[in-house]
Protein backbone atom coordinates (compact mmCIF):
# COMPACT_ATOMS: atom_id res chain seq x y z
CA UNK A 1 0.00 0.00 0.00
CA UNK A 2 1.29 3.38 -1.02
CA UNK A 3 1.42 5.30 2.25
CA UNK A 4 3.79 8.22 1.67
CA UNK A 5 6.49 8.99 4.24
CA UNK A 6 4.60 8.26 7.44
CA UNK A 7 5.32 4.85 8.98
CA UNK A 8 1.95 4.88 10.78
CA UNK A 9 -0.22 5.26 7.70
CA UNK A 10 -1.06 1.53 7.71
CA UNK A 11 -2.97 2.06 10.95
CA UNK A 12 -5.72 3.90 9.04
CA UNK A 13 -6.82 0.64 7.47
CA UNK A 14 -6.41 -1.17 10.78
CA UNK A 15 -8.91 1.20 12.37
CA UNK A 16 -11.30 0.71 9.50
CA UNK A 17 -11.18 -3.07 9.92
CA UNK A 18 -11.50 -2.98 13.69
CA UNK A 19 -7.97 -4.19 14.35
CA UNK A 20 -7.01 -1.09 16.27
CA UNK A 21 -9.06 -0.26 19.32
CA UNK A 22 -8.89 1.47 22.63
CA UNK A 23 -5.84 3.53 23.49
CA UNK A 24 -3.97 2.58 20.31
CA UNK A 25 -6.84 3.83 18.21
CA UNK A 26 -7.13 7.07 20.16
CA UNK A 27 -3.39 7.59 19.75
CA UNK A 28 -3.55 7.24 15.97
CA UNK A 29 -6.56 9.50 15.70
CA UNK A 30 -4.67 12.22 17.52
CA UNK A 31 -1.69 11.63 15.24
CA UNK A 32 -3.83 11.85 12.08
CA UNK A 33 -5.04 15.34 12.97
CA UNK A 34 -1.53 16.65 12.41
CA UNK A 35 -0.23 14.25 9.72
CA UNK A 36 -1.20 15.05 6.14
CA UNK A 37 -0.15 11.60 4.91
CA UNK A 38 -2.36 9.74 7.36
CA UNK A 39 -5.25 12.13 6.81
CA UNK A 40 -4.96 11.49 3.08
CA UNK A 41 -4.87 7.75 3.78
CA UNK A 42 -8.24 8.01 5.54
CA UNK A 43 -9.67 9.98 2.65
CA UNK A 44 -8.41 7.46 0.11
CA UNK A 45 -9.97 4.58 2.00
CA UNK A 46 -13.24 6.52 2.12
CA UNK A 47 -13.06 7.11 -1.63
CA UNK A 48 -12.50 3.41 -2.28
CA UNK A 49 -15.54 2.59 -0.19
CA UNK A 50 -17.63 5.29 -1.83
CA UNK A 51 -16.60 4.07 -5.26
CA UNK A 52 -17.68 0.54 -4.49
CA UNK A 53 -20.98 1.68 -2.99
CA UNK A 54 -21.81 3.81 -6.00
CA UNK A 55 -21.42 1.05 -8.58
CA UNK A 56 -24.37 0.94 -10.96
CA UNK A 57 -27.02 -1.66 -10.27
CA UNK A 58 -30.19 -2.31 -12.20
CA UNK A 59 -32.97 -3.57 -9.93
CA UNK A 60 -35.16 -6.40 -11.15
CA UNK A 61 -38.48 -5.28 -12.60
CA UNK A 62 -41.60 -5.57 -10.51
CA UNK A 63 -43.06 -8.49 -12.44
CA UNK A 64 -39.90 -10.51 -12.03
CA UNK A 65 -39.78 -9.74 -8.31
CA UNK A 66 -43.38 -10.89 -7.87
CA UNK A 67 -42.74 -14.08 -9.81
CA UNK A 68 -39.72 -14.85 -7.69
CA UNK A 69 -41.70 -14.11 -4.54
CA UNK A 70 -44.40 -16.53 -5.58
CA UNK A 71 -41.80 -19.16 -6.40
CA UNK A 72 -40.20 -18.68 -3.00
CA UNK A 73 -43.44 -19.02 -1.07
CA UNK A 74 -44.36 -22.12 -3.04
CA UNK A 75 -40.99 -23.66 -2.24
CA UNK A 76 -41.41 -22.74 1.43
CA UNK A 77 -44.77 -24.42 1.51
CA UNK A 78 -43.45 -27.46 -0.27
CA UNK A 79 -40.17 -27.92 1.53
CA UNK A 80 -40.55 -26.48 4.97
CA UNK A 81 -44.16 -26.58 6.05
CA UNK A 82 -44.69 -30.24 5.22
CA UNK A 83 -41.18 -31.67 5.22
CA UNK A 84 -42.41 -35.02 6.53
CA UNK A 85 -44.14 -35.59 3.16
CA UNK A 86 -41.08 -34.87 1.05
CA UNK A 87 -39.36 -38.25 1.35
CA UNK A 88 -42.69 -40.01 0.76
CA UNK A 89 -43.40 -37.80 -2.24
CA UNK A 90 -40.06 -38.67 -3.79
CA UNK A 91 -40.68 -42.39 -3.30
CA UNK A 92 -44.17 -42.02 -4.76
CA UNK A 93 -42.87 -40.17 -7.78
CA UNK A 94 -40.31 -42.89 -8.47
CA UNK A 95 -42.92 -45.61 -8.10
CA UNK A 96 -45.40 -43.72 -10.27
CA UNK A 97 -42.89 -43.66 -13.11
CA UNK A 98 -42.68 -47.45 -12.96
CA UNK A 99 -46.44 -48.09 -13.05
CA UNK A 100 -47.62 -45.29 -15.36
CA UNK A 101 -47.73 -47.59 -18.41
CA UNK A 102 -50.09 -50.00 -16.61
CA UNK A 103 -52.14 -47.14 -15.21
CA UNK A 104 -52.43 -45.61 -18.69
CA UNK A 105 -53.97 -48.79 -20.12
CA UNK A 106 -56.50 -48.94 -17.28
CA UNK A 107 -57.37 -45.28 -17.70
CA UNK A 108 -58.15 -45.74 -21.38
CA UNK A 109 -60.73 -48.43 -20.64
CA UNK A 110 -62.48 -46.96 -17.63
CA UNK A 111 -64.71 -44.04 -16.72
CA UNK A 112 -63.28 -41.82 -13.99
CA UNK A 113 -65.40 -40.22 -11.32
CA UNK A 114 -63.45 -38.09 -8.88
CA UNK A 115 -64.55 -36.18 -5.86
CA UNK A 116 -61.15 -36.11 -4.22
CA UNK A 117 -58.56 -33.51 -5.16
CA UNK A 118 -57.36 -33.88 -8.78
CA UNK A 119 -54.37 -35.97 -9.77
CA UNK A 120 -52.51 -35.97 -13.08
CA UNK A 121 -53.18 -38.90 -15.40
CA UNK A 122 -50.57 -39.84 -17.92
CA UNK A 123 -52.05 -40.86 -21.28
CA UNK A 124 -50.04 -42.08 -24.20
CA UNK A 125 -49.16 -38.59 -25.32
CA UNK A 126 -51.54 -36.28 -23.46
CA UNK A 127 -51.06 -35.19 -19.88
CA UNK A 128 -54.44 -34.50 -18.36
CA UNK A 129 -54.98 -32.72 -15.07
CA UNK A 130 -58.53 -32.80 -13.76
CA UNK A 131 -59.69 -30.24 -11.21
CA UNK A 132 -62.25 -30.59 -8.51
CA UNK A 133 -65.12 -33.02 -9.16
CA UNK A 134 -64.42 -33.36 -12.86
CA UNK A 135 -66.13 -36.25 -14.63
CA UNK A 136 -64.31 -37.46 -17.70
CA UNK A 137 -62.97 -40.49 -19.51
CA UNK A 138 -60.42 -41.33 -22.17
CA UNK A 139 -60.01 -44.00 -24.84
CA UNK A 140 -57.99 -44.66 -27.95
CA UNK A 141 -59.88 -45.32 -31.17
CA UNK A 142 -57.77 -46.20 -34.20
CA UNK A 143 -55.74 -43.07 -34.89
CA UNK A 144 -57.45 -40.88 -32.34
CA UNK A 145 -57.28 -40.33 -28.63
CA UNK A 146 -60.71 -39.35 -27.39
CA UNK A 147 -61.24 -37.56 -24.11
CA UNK A 148 -64.86 -37.18 -23.05
CA UNK A 149 -65.69 -34.41 -20.58
CA UNK A 150 -69.06 -34.54 -18.85
CA UNK A 151 -68.44 -31.76 -16.37
CA UNK A 152 -65.65 -29.90 -14.63
CA UNK A 153 -62.31 -28.49 -15.76
CA UNK A 154 -59.46 -30.32 -17.46
CA UNK A 155 -56.02 -28.97 -18.27
CA UNK A 156 -54.46 -30.86 -21.14
CA UNK A 157 -50.95 -30.85 -22.54
CA UNK A 158 -50.32 -32.76 -25.75
CA UNK A 159 -46.88 -33.92 -26.74
CA UNK A 160 -46.88 -34.29 -30.50
CA UNK A 161 -43.37 -35.66 -30.58
CA UNK A 162 -44.61 -38.98 -29.17
CA UNK A 163 -47.37 -39.93 -31.58
CA UNK A 164 -49.26 -38.97 -34.71
CA UNK A 165 -52.64 -39.58 -33.07
CA UNK A 166 -55.13 -36.75 -33.09
CA UNK A 167 -56.59 -35.73 -29.79
CA UNK A 168 -60.30 -35.11 -29.71
CA UNK A 169 -62.06 -33.77 -26.63
CA UNK A 170 -65.76 -34.67 -26.74
CA UNK A 171 -67.93 -32.08 -25.01
CA UNK A 172 -71.62 -32.28 -24.09
CA UNK A 173 -72.36 -29.63 -26.69
CA UNK A 174 -69.65 -30.25 -29.26
CA UNK A 175 -66.04 -31.26 -29.60
CA UNK A 176 -62.59 -29.73 -29.44
CA UNK A 177 -59.72 -30.91 -31.64
CA UNK A 178 -56.15 -30.46 -30.59
CA UNK A 179 -53.55 -29.24 -33.06
CA UNK A 180 -50.55 -29.56 -30.77
CA UNK A 181 -51.00 -27.55 -27.65
CA UNK A 182 -51.50 -26.97 -23.93
CA UNK A 183 -55.01 -25.88 -23.07
CA UNK A 184 -57.75 -25.86 -20.46
CA UNK A 185 -61.43 -26.64 -21.10
CA UNK A 186 -64.33 -26.14 -18.68
CA UNK A 187 -67.80 -27.64 -18.89
CA UNK A 188 -70.66 -26.44 -16.67
CA UNK A 189 -74.22 -27.73 -16.89
CA UNK A 190 -73.67 -29.60 -20.18
CA UNK A 191 -72.27 -26.47 -21.81
CA UNK A 192 -68.70 -25.64 -22.68
CA UNK A 193 -68.08 -22.39 -20.84
CA UNK A 194 -64.38 -21.75 -21.30
CA UNK A 195 -61.39 -22.80 -23.37
CA UNK A 196 -57.99 -21.24 -22.70
CA UNK A 197 -55.03 -22.10 -24.89
CA UNK A 198 -51.56 -21.57 -23.48
CA UNK A 199 -49.62 -22.68 -26.53
CA UNK A 200 -50.46 -24.15 -29.90
CA UNK A 201 -54.03 -24.00 -31.15
CA UNK A 202 -57.31 -25.91 -31.02
CA UNK A 203 -60.44 -26.16 -33.15
CA UNK A 204 -63.61 -25.71 -31.17
CA UNK A 205 -66.78 -27.01 -32.87
CA UNK A 206 -69.97 -26.47 -30.90
CA UNK A 207 -73.37 -27.62 -32.08
CA UNK A 208 -75.21 -24.92 -33.99
CA UNK A 209 -72.22 -22.59 -34.03
CA UNK A 210 -69.41 -21.93 -36.46
CA UNK A 211 -66.06 -23.54 -35.78
CA UNK A 212 -63.60 -21.44 -33.85
CA UNK A 213 -59.81 -21.53 -33.94
CA UNK A 214 -58.33 -20.62 -30.58
CA UNK A 215 -54.65 -19.71 -30.70
CA UNK A 216 -52.03 -19.69 -27.96
CA UNK A 217 -52.69 -16.95 -25.43
CA UNK A 218 -56.37 -16.71 -26.37
CA UNK A 219 -59.37 -17.49 -24.22
CA UNK A 220 -62.80 -18.53 -25.51
CA UNK A 221 -65.33 -17.01 -25.30
CA UNK A 222 -63.75 -14.00 -27.08
CA UNK A 223 -61.39 -16.11 -29.18
CA UNK A 224 -59.22 -14.19 -31.62
CA UNK A 225 -60.42 -15.88 -34.80
CA UNK A 226 -63.69 -17.36 -36.06
CA UNK A 227 -64.65 -18.74 -39.45
CA UNK A 228 -66.31 -16.32 -41.88
CA UNK A 229 -69.67 -18.13 -41.53
CA UNK A 230 -70.06 -17.21 -37.89
CA UNK A 231 -72.33 -14.51 -36.59
CA UNK A 232 -70.85 -11.80 -34.42
CA UNK A 233 -68.68 -13.23 -31.71
CA UNK A 234 -69.42 -12.46 -28.11
CA UNK A 235 -67.87 -9.07 -27.60
CA UNK A 236 -68.11 -8.10 -23.95
CA UNK A 237 -64.90 -8.33 -22.01
CA UNK A 238 -64.78 -11.40 -19.76
CA UNK A 239 -62.86 -9.76 -16.91
CA UNK A 240 -64.74 -7.58 -14.44
CA UNK A 241 -62.75 -4.42 -14.99
CA UNK A 242 -64.35 -1.14 -13.92
CA UNK A 243 -66.71 0.19 -16.58
CA UNK A 244 -65.01 3.59 -16.57
CA UNK A 245 -61.90 2.25 -18.26
CA UNK A 246 -63.66 1.53 -21.57
CA UNK A 247 -61.79 3.87 -23.95
CA UNK A 248 -63.98 5.73 -26.48
CA UNK A 249 -62.99 5.39 -30.11
CA UNK A 250 -61.91 8.81 -31.37
CA UNK A 251 -63.20 9.80 -34.83
CA UNK A 252 -62.18 12.50 -37.25
CA UNK A 253 -65.25 14.69 -38.03
CA UNK A 254 -66.87 13.52 -41.24
CA UNK A 255 -64.71 10.43 -41.44
CA UNK A 256 -65.67 6.82 -40.85
CA UNK A 257 -62.10 5.68 -40.22
CA UNK A 258 -61.45 4.57 -36.65
CA UNK A 259 -58.36 5.59 -34.74
CA UNK A 260 -55.28 3.33 -34.89
CA UNK A 261 -55.27 0.51 -32.36
CA UNK A 262 -53.34 1.16 -29.16
CA UNK A 263 -50.00 -0.53 -28.84
CA UNK A 264 -50.37 -3.17 -26.10
CA UNK A 265 -46.65 -3.17 -25.37
CA UNK A 266 -46.66 0.56 -24.73
CA UNK A 267 -49.75 0.33 -22.53
CA UNK A 268 -48.34 -2.56 -20.54
CA UNK A 269 -44.95 -0.95 -20.01
CA UNK A 270 -46.57 2.31 -18.99
CA UNK A 271 -48.55 0.58 -16.28
CA UNK A 272 -45.51 -1.38 -15.12
CA UNK A 273 -43.46 1.81 -14.94
CA UNK A 274 -46.12 3.40 -12.74
CA UNK A 275 -45.97 0.43 -10.42
CA UNK A 276 -42.21 0.65 -10.33
CA UNK A 277 -42.44 4.33 -9.45
CA UNK A 278 -44.74 3.30 -6.59
CA UNK A 279 -47.68 5.18 -8.13
CA UNK A 280 -50.10 2.39 -7.31
CA UNK A 281 -53.24 4.29 -8.32
CA UNK A 282 -51.92 5.06 -11.79
CA UNK A 283 -50.68 1.50 -12.13
CA UNK A 284 -54.07 0.04 -11.19
CA UNK A 285 -55.80 2.27 -13.73
CA UNK A 286 -53.22 1.42 -16.35
CA UNK A 287 -53.65 -2.32 -15.91
CA UNK A 288 -57.44 -1.99 -15.92
CA UNK A 289 -57.21 -0.07 -19.17
CA UNK A 290 -54.86 -2.68 -20.61
CA UNK A 291 -57.29 -5.47 -19.76
CA UNK A 292 -60.14 -3.62 -21.41
CA UNK A 293 -58.24 -2.77 -24.57
CA UNK A 294 -56.08 -5.87 -24.95
CA UNK A 295 -58.06 -8.68 -23.34
CA UNK A 296 -56.51 -11.29 -25.63
CA UNK A 297 -52.94 -10.15 -25.31
CA UNK A 298 -50.54 -12.79 -24.01
CA UNK A 299 -49.76 -10.46 -21.08
CA UNK A 300 -53.37 -10.26 -19.97
CA UNK A 301 -52.81 -12.62 -17.06
CA UNK A 302 -49.78 -10.62 -15.94
CA UNK A 303 -51.84 -7.45 -16.14
CA UNK A 304 -54.70 -8.99 -14.18
CA UNK A 305 -52.30 -10.10 -11.48
CA UNK A 306 -50.44 -6.78 -11.31
CA UNK A 307 -53.75 -4.96 -11.10
CA UNK A 308 -54.47 -6.93 -7.94
CA UNK A 309 -51.08 -5.98 -6.52
CA UNK A 310 -51.49 -2.32 -7.43
CA UNK A 311 -54.92 -2.14 -5.77
CA UNK A 312 -53.50 -3.81 -2.70
CA UNK A 313 -50.85 -1.13 -2.50
CA UNK A 314 -53.53 1.53 -2.81
CA UNK A 315 -54.97 0.11 0.38
CA UNK A 316 -58.35 -0.48 -1.28
CA UNK A 317 -59.33 -3.78 0.33
CA UNK A 318 -62.67 -4.12 -1.44
CA UNK A 319 -61.26 -3.42 -4.89
CA UNK A 320 -58.34 -5.75 -4.23
CA UNK A 321 -60.68 -8.55 -3.29
CA UNK A 322 -62.84 -7.96 -6.38
CA UNK A 323 -59.84 -7.89 -8.67
CA UNK A 324 -58.44 -11.04 -7.08
CA UNK A 325 -61.77 -12.81 -7.51
CA UNK A 326 -61.89 -11.73 -11.14
CA UNK A 327 -58.37 -13.05 -11.69
CA UNK A 328 -59.23 -16.42 -10.17
CA UNK A 329 -62.40 -16.65 -12.25
CA UNK A 330 -60.57 -15.98 -15.46
CA UNK A 331 -57.40 -17.89 -14.62
CA UNK A 332 -58.41 -20.78 -12.36
CA UNK A 333 -55.10 -22.49 -13.10
CA UNK A 334 -53.13 -19.28 -13.25
CA UNK A 335 -49.47 -19.19 -12.33
CA UNK A 336 -50.15 -16.90 -9.35
CA UNK A 337 -53.27 -18.58 -8.16
CA UNK A 338 -51.95 -19.39 -4.69
CA UNK A 339 -50.93 -15.82 -3.96
CA UNK A 340 -54.10 -14.28 -5.40
CA UNK A 341 -56.30 -16.69 -3.45
CA UNK A 342 -54.89 -15.26 -0.24
CA UNK A 343 -55.82 -11.76 -1.39
CA UNK A 344 -59.32 -12.78 -2.40
CA UNK A 345 -60.21 -13.93 1.11
Amino acid sequence: MSAGACPRAFEAEAIRDGRLTGAARASFERHATSCAVCAREFETLDRVAAGVRSLPYTPADELHVRRERTRLLAAFDRELVAPEHAPAARRWAFGAAMIVAIAGALVLLNMHRHDAPARPVEASRATIHAEGAAVWSERIENDREIVRVERGTLSIHVDHTQSVRRLLVMLPDGELEDKGTTFTVRVDGAHTTRVAVEEGSVFLRLHGRAPVVIEGGDVWPHAALESPASASASAAPSLEAPATVQSPQPRTPGSTVTAPARDPSVDFQTAVAALHRRNARAAAEGFSSFLSNHAHDRRAEDAAYLRVIALQRCGDVRATREAATAYLRRYPTGFRRAEVEALAE
Binding site: E29, V52, Y57, R71
Partner: protein, 192 residues
Protein backbone atom coordinates in the same frame (compact mmCIF):
# COMPACT_ATOMS: atom_id res chain seq x y z
CA UNK B 1 -12.13 13.68 10.53
CA UNK B 2 -14.50 10.74 10.66
CA UNK B 3 -12.49 7.56 11.15
CA UNK B 4 -15.48 5.43 11.95
CA UNK B 5 -17.34 3.61 9.20
CA UNK B 6 -20.95 4.53 9.51
CA UNK B 7 -23.22 2.92 6.98
CA UNK B 8 -26.85 3.91 7.11
CA UNK B 9 -29.33 1.61 5.48
CA UNK B 10 -33.01 2.39 5.06
CA UNK B 11 -34.98 1.47 8.16
CA UNK B 12 -38.27 -0.40 7.82
CA UNK B 13 -41.27 1.93 7.44
CA UNK B 14 -42.87 3.28 10.60
CA UNK B 15 -45.33 0.83 12.07
CA UNK B 16 -43.79 -2.14 10.29
CA UNK B 17 -43.06 -5.24 12.28
CA UNK B 18 -39.53 -5.39 13.71
CA UNK B 19 -37.19 -7.90 12.14
CA UNK B 20 -36.99 -10.13 15.24
CA UNK B 21 -40.80 -10.44 15.23
CA UNK B 22 -40.81 -11.47 11.60
CA UNK B 23 -38.10 -14.05 12.22
CA UNK B 24 -39.99 -15.39 15.22
CA UNK B 25 -43.13 -15.87 13.13
CA UNK B 26 -41.11 -17.38 10.34
CA UNK B 27 -39.58 -19.86 12.76
CA UNK B 28 -43.14 -20.85 13.60
CA UNK B 29 -43.79 -21.76 9.96
CA UNK B 30 -45.79 -18.66 9.01
CA UNK B 31 -45.58 -18.16 5.25
CA UNK B 32 -46.66 -14.52 5.39
CA UNK B 33 -43.60 -13.80 7.51
CA UNK B 34 -41.36 -15.07 4.73
CA UNK B 35 -43.22 -12.84 2.29
CA UNK B 36 -42.65 -9.84 4.57
CA UNK B 37 -39.00 -10.67 4.95
CA UNK B 38 -38.64 -11.00 1.19
CA UNK B 39 -40.43 -7.71 0.53
CA UNK B 40 -38.17 -5.94 2.98
CA UNK B 41 -34.79 -7.34 1.98
CA UNK B 42 -34.92 -8.92 -1.47
CA UNK B 43 -33.42 -5.82 -3.04
CA UNK B 44 -30.54 -5.79 -0.55
CA UNK B 45 -29.73 -9.46 -1.08
CA UNK B 46 -30.13 -9.24 -4.86
CA UNK B 47 -27.90 -6.16 -5.10
CA UNK B 48 -25.16 -7.82 -3.06
CA UNK B 49 -25.27 -11.02 -5.09
CA UNK B 50 -25.46 -9.18 -8.42
CA UNK B 51 -22.26 -7.35 -7.58
CA UNK B 52 -20.55 -10.28 -5.89
CA UNK B 53 -20.97 -13.00 -8.47
CA UNK B 54 -19.68 -12.73 -11.99
CA UNK B 55 -22.39 -15.09 -13.21
CA UNK B 56 -25.56 -13.06 -13.57
CA UNK B 57 -27.64 -16.17 -14.19
CA UNK B 58 -26.98 -17.36 -10.64
CA UNK B 59 -28.47 -14.34 -8.93
CA UNK B 60 -32.11 -15.43 -8.91
CA UNK B 61 -31.29 -18.91 -7.67
CA UNK B 62 -29.02 -17.55 -4.96
CA UNK B 63 -31.61 -15.02 -3.79
CA UNK B 64 -34.16 -17.81 -3.66
CA UNK B 65 -31.78 -20.09 -1.75
CA UNK B 66 -30.88 -17.30 0.68
CA UNK B 67 -34.43 -16.73 1.83
CA UNK B 68 -35.16 -20.43 2.05
CA UNK B 69 -32.03 -20.91 4.14
CA UNK B 70 -33.11 -17.99 6.31
CA UNK B 71 -36.48 -19.64 6.84
CA UNK B 72 -34.80 -22.89 7.87
CA UNK B 73 -32.54 -21.18 10.38
CA UNK B 74 -34.96 -18.52 11.61
CA UNK B 75 -35.25 -20.27 14.97
CA UNK B 76 -31.54 -19.66 15.58
CA UNK B 77 -31.66 -15.93 14.83
CA UNK B 78 -29.97 -14.02 17.60
CA UNK B 79 -32.58 -11.29 17.86
CA UNK B 80 -30.58 -8.34 16.54
CA UNK B 81 -32.65 -5.35 15.55
CA UNK B 82 -31.81 -5.67 11.86
CA UNK B 83 -31.42 -9.03 10.22
CA UNK B 84 -29.90 -7.50 7.10
CA UNK B 85 -26.28 -8.44 7.95
CA UNK B 86 -27.46 -11.93 8.84
CA UNK B 87 -29.24 -12.34 5.50
CA UNK B 88 -26.29 -11.02 3.54
CA UNK B 89 -24.04 -13.36 5.48
CA UNK B 90 -26.24 -16.29 4.44
CA UNK B 91 -26.03 -15.13 0.84
CA UNK B 92 -22.25 -14.97 1.05
CA UNK B 93 -22.10 -18.49 2.48
CA UNK B 94 -24.25 -19.85 -0.31
CA UNK B 95 -22.13 -18.08 -2.88
CA UNK B 96 -19.00 -19.63 -1.43
CA UNK B 97 -20.51 -23.12 -1.36
CA UNK B 98 -21.67 -22.79 -4.93
CA UNK B 99 -18.22 -21.72 -6.04
CA UNK B 100 -16.64 -24.64 -4.18
CA UNK B 101 -19.14 -27.13 -5.61
CA UNK B 102 -18.60 -25.87 -9.12
CA UNK B 103 -14.87 -25.93 -8.59
CA UNK B 104 -14.94 -29.56 -7.41
CA UNK B 105 -17.18 -30.52 -10.34
CA UNK B 106 -14.92 -28.79 -12.79
CA UNK B 107 -11.83 -30.38 -11.26
CA UNK B 108 -13.38 -33.85 -11.58
CA UNK B 109 -14.49 -33.15 -15.11
CA UNK B 110 -11.12 -31.89 -16.28
CA UNK B 111 -9.34 -34.73 -14.47
CA UNK B 112 -11.29 -37.23 -16.55
CA UNK B 113 -10.49 -35.25 -19.63
CA UNK B 114 -6.81 -35.11 -18.73
CA UNK B 115 -6.81 -31.35 -18.81
CA UNK B 116 -5.68 -28.84 -16.25
CA UNK B 117 -8.51 -27.24 -14.43
CA UNK B 118 -9.19 -23.74 -15.63
CA UNK B 119 -10.55 -20.94 -13.54
CA UNK B 120 -13.64 -21.71 -11.52
CA UNK B 121 -14.69 -18.10 -11.64
CA UNK B 122 -16.24 -17.49 -15.05
CA UNK B 123 -16.03 -13.77 -15.58
CA UNK B 124 -19.24 -13.12 -17.37
CA UNK B 125 -20.54 -9.61 -17.55
CA UNK B 126 -20.49 -7.37 -14.53
CA UNK B 127 -21.72 -4.00 -15.64
CA UNK B 128 -18.48 -2.14 -15.10
CA UNK B 129 -18.50 1.18 -16.80
CA UNK B 130 -16.13 2.88 -14.37
CA UNK B 131 -12.54 2.24 -13.38
CA UNK B 132 -13.76 1.12 -9.97
CA UNK B 133 -16.31 -1.19 -11.53
CA UNK B 134 -13.79 -2.70 -13.88
CA UNK B 135 -11.30 -3.12 -11.11
CA UNK B 136 -13.93 -4.78 -8.92
CA UNK B 137 -14.80 -7.14 -11.75
CA UNK B 138 -11.17 -8.16 -12.12
CA UNK B 139 -10.89 -9.10 -8.45
CA UNK B 140 -11.26 -12.71 -7.47
CA UNK B 141 -14.72 -13.49 -6.15
CA UNK B 142 -13.33 -14.06 -2.66
CA UNK B 143 -11.79 -10.57 -2.49
CA UNK B 144 -14.80 -8.98 -4.15
CA UNK B 145 -17.22 -10.56 -1.69
CA UNK B 146 -15.12 -9.50 1.30
CA UNK B 147 -14.95 -5.92 0.05
CA UNK B 148 -18.69 -5.74 -0.66
CA UNK B 149 -19.57 -7.19 2.72
CA UNK B 150 -17.32 -4.70 4.50
CA UNK B 151 -17.82 -1.50 2.52
CA UNK B 152 -21.38 -1.83 1.19
CA UNK B 153 -23.19 -4.08 3.64
CA UNK B 154 -21.34 -2.83 6.71
CA UNK B 155 -20.46 -6.18 8.23
CA UNK B 156 -17.61 -6.25 10.72
CA UNK B 157 -14.57 -8.33 9.87
CA UNK B 158 -15.61 -10.86 12.52
CA UNK B 159 -19.04 -11.18 10.89
CA UNK B 160 -17.45 -11.56 7.48
CA UNK B 161 -15.12 -14.27 8.78
CA UNK B 162 -18.05 -16.17 10.23
CA UNK B 163 -20.11 -15.81 7.08
CA UNK B 164 -17.32 -16.98 4.83
CA UNK B 165 -15.98 -19.66 7.13
CA UNK B 166 -12.42 -18.29 7.08
CA UNK B 167 -10.10 -16.93 9.76
CA UNK B 168 -10.42 -13.23 10.43
CA UNK B 169 -6.82 -12.76 9.32
CA UNK B 170 -7.83 -14.03 5.89
CA UNK B 171 -10.55 -11.40 5.78
CA UNK B 172 -8.06 -8.64 6.60
CA UNK B 173 -5.73 -9.89 3.89
CA UNK B 174 -8.47 -10.05 1.28
CA UNK B 175 -9.70 -6.57 2.15
CA UNK B 176 -6.22 -5.15 1.95
CA UNK B 177 -5.58 -6.73 -1.45
CA UNK B 178 -8.97 -5.63 -2.77
CA UNK B 179 -8.54 -2.05 -1.63
CA UNK B 180 -5.10 -1.94 -3.17
CA UNK B 181 -6.53 -2.84 -6.56
CA UNK B 182 -9.34 -0.35 -6.30
CA UNK B 183 -6.94 2.39 -5.19
CA UNK B 184 -4.75 1.66 -8.18
CA UNK B 185 -7.76 2.02 -10.47
CA UNK B 186 -8.72 5.32 -8.85
CA UNK B 187 -5.18 6.66 -9.15
CA UNK B 188 -4.92 5.54 -12.77
CA UNK B 189 -8.20 7.21 -13.51
CA UNK B 190 -7.00 10.45 -12.06
CA UNK B 191 -3.59 10.38 -13.77
CA UNK B 192 -3.22 13.15 -16.37
Amino acid sequence: MNVRRTLRHPAPPAGAAPDPDILRRLAGGEMNALGELYDRYHETVRRFLARATSNAEDVDDLVHATFLAAAKSAARYDGRTSCRPWLVGIAAQLLRRRRQSFGRFLAVLTTFRGMRATTTDPRAALQARTEVGESLARLSEAKRVALLLAEVEGLSCAEIAEALGVPIGTVWTRLHAARREIRRALEDGEAP
